[in-house]
């Protein structure tokens, strides 16, 4: 799957980051370079840790999450003809103004909502056709981190992270504890300190991290994040961003991240989808985005 021949022409695999960085220079297109330099200057701090960004795991061409001409209306149309592909190992960031339907897209992927038309495909399964019970099973391939973390407030941190394990695995109590500790350590929390705490006793950033630990407890192939960094200070935002990248790098998960934090989007995204006025107005790499001539895209970036 990941042979160079296979990947020819696709904006993808191992060397992808390198290529992406050099591409414009080789072509010697001054406008592009200016845009890149500008971006570099603006995000100098992030690019220092650039290894992380460039060091991407191999991305296969196999689509694992796909929206195919999806339309959805509540009392008014929210999404029209929205198409989106995340290939295995990619990190897709969905950006856009408030109320444009970003969370709705995640809910469609989770089949918490069904589209009026178009198809949603996750790991080869067309979600339109599956029953509620089948959807419960398919959802186990996905870990979702909610905007407000959505931890079960009547359960301790330990019980929250252990919950999906108790539900869906045959692990013994000891194995569950080991796994919970491992996940909490992965998100940089001290298991001994937080395990017995209740969600109400945690700070916003800690809640988000417990949310991530719970989402990844059963080692899903896909992680979905709804505004993982909103409402957090810049430092914690950096920590969470790095965490999402670590998950992608070390565990090779595919991520779909909803965020209007363009800084962290540029840091972690393989591709950015910009949602505006019911449509995807841009879908491409961060570099393509800075290079875009589109007024709206430029305005959106200008608002950084």
């Amino acid at each position: 799957m990941d042979t160079p021949a296979d990947d020819e022409g696709a904006p993808a695999p191992a060397a992808h980051g390198e290529e992406r960085r050099r591409g414009p220079e080789l072509e010697g297109e001054p406008r592009l370079r200016r845009a890149e330099d500008e971006l570099r200057a603006r995000f100098a701090e992030e690019l220092q840790e650039g290894e992380e960004t460039q060091d991407r795991v191999a991305i296969s061409r196999e689509a694992i999450v796909e929206l195919d001409r999806v339309s959805l209306a509540f009392d008014r149309p929210i999404l029209e003809n929205v198409s989106l592909i995340a290939r295995r190992g990619e990190t897709i960031v969905i950006a856009g103004e408030s109320g444009t339907g970003k969370s709705t897209i995640l809910k469609l992927i989770l089949r918490l909502l069904r589209p009026d038309s178009g198809r949603v495909i996750v790991d080869g399964e067309v979600l339109n056709d599956v029953t509620y019970e089948e959807a419960l099973v398919i959802r186990q391939k996905m870990g979702m981190v909610f905007q407000g973390a959505a931890l079960f407030d009547s359960m301790s941190v330990f019980e929250n992270v252990a919950f999906p394990l108790r539900e869906h695995t045959e692990l013994t109590d000891d194995e569950i504890e080991t796994r919970v500790r491992e996940k909490l350590e992965f998100v940089d929390l001290d298991p001994d300190r937080v395990m017995e705490q209740l969600p109400a006793e945690l700070s916003g950033g800690m809640k988000k991290r417990v949310g991530i630990a719970r989402g990844m407890a059963v080692n899903p192939a896909i992680m979905l994040y709804d505004e993982p960094t909103s409402g957090l200070d810049p430092l914690t935002t950096g920590t969470i961003t790095r965490l999402i990248m670590k998950l992608q790098r070390e565990l090779k998960v595919t991520s779909v991240v909803v965020s209007h934090d363009i800084r962290s989007a540029f840091r972690m995204a393989t591709k950015i989808a910009l949602l505006a006025d019911r449509h995807i107005v841009f879908f491409g790499s961060p570099e393509d985005m800075t290079a875009s001539q589109d007024r709206y895209v430029q305005d959106f970036l200008g608002g950084v």
């Binding site: 419960l136 959802r139 996905m142 959505a150 999906p164 539900e167």
Partner: protein, 269 residues
């Protein structure tokens, strides 16, 4: 005019859909009672919340209801010189009607609203979505344990309420009217026996008195869960859900009580 009719039509359609959804929820919750996995911890916790926490108010109101029943009947009976039948009247009213209905309405206020508030706040903080996302049916995890707990605890609370109520009647009958304790309880037993027995041993009054709280318990749990799950619009929505639960559950209890009574009278006389 057309717009007005259309909006009435819309409203009616929404009602019908809501009723359909209500019964759908009830049916699913009932089906899950016998399906694995069983959330026994949740059931026990809910029994504690429903039973133990409502015990105080149910006993208190039961006691005073028994006393006021005795007081009222003693005045009426005195006109016919039949005050020795106070026990029979208090028992008949408590066991068949007032015990179940009063306890249920109190529990609807105390527990039904609590269920709606808890599940409603889980809805608005996306915890219900989180359950779904983690591959767990919220009805199974949240509704069924509350339903089981209510189905079990409501009859228990009602028996206690009945007993305390009849005891309250005893206090008044003895203190005000001067009926000896022994006589009072003999008339209580006469009343219970007069309804006949099912399977030789179980007084049919008891059966009637326990079918009702069982049904009421179901109404309370399902109504609370229904409005909780359908909560919309943040914390304000949670407030609405609790209010509606109390109103709808209380009305349903009183309406269903009438029809149940008809059915039970038809069956047991």
């Amino acid at each position: 005019m057309a717009g007005f009719l259309a909006s009435i039509n819309e409203g009616a359609k929404r009602r019908v859909l809501a009723v359909q959804e209500y019964f759908g929820l009830a049916a699913k919750a009932i089906r899950f009672i016998v399906a694995r996995p069983f959330y026994i911890g949740d059931v026990v916790q809910q029994m504690d919340a429903i039973g133990v926490e409502s015990l105080g108010i149910v006993l208190l109101t039961g006691f005073f209801t028994g006393m006021v029943l005795a007081l009222q009947t003693s005045v009426q009976m005195a006109q016919f010189g039949a005050t020795m039948y106070i026990g029979r009247l208090v028992t008949a009213s408590m066991v068949r009607e007032l015990g179940p209905v009063l306890a249920a309405i109190l529990v609807a206020g105390r527990v039904g609203s609590g269920i709606a508030a808890q599940i409603g706040s889980m809805r608005v903080t996306e915890q219900i979505d989180a359950l779904n996302t983690l591959g767990v049916d919220p009805i199974k995890k949240l509704v069924t344990p509350r339903l089981i707990a209510a189905l079990v605890m409501m009859p228990v609370l009602t028996i206690l309420s009945d007993t305390v109520g009849i005891g309250g009647g005893n206090v008044i009958a003895t203190a005000y009217v001067g009926i000896p304790v022994g006589l009072y309880w003999r008339t209580v037993w006469e009343q219970i026996a007069s309804g006949g027995f099912i399977l030789h041993y179980i007084p049919s009054d008891f059966v009637q008195g326990l079918v009702k709280p069982f049904v009421f318990g179901g109404i309370i749990a399902i109504t609370g869960c229904f409005f909780g799950i359908n909560t919309k619009g943040g914390t304000e929505g949670v407030g609405n859900a609790t209010t509606r639960t109390v109103v709808v559950a209380s009305v349903l209890i009183l309406v269903v009580d009438y029809f149940l009574t008809q059915v039970l009278l038809f069956l047991f006389g």
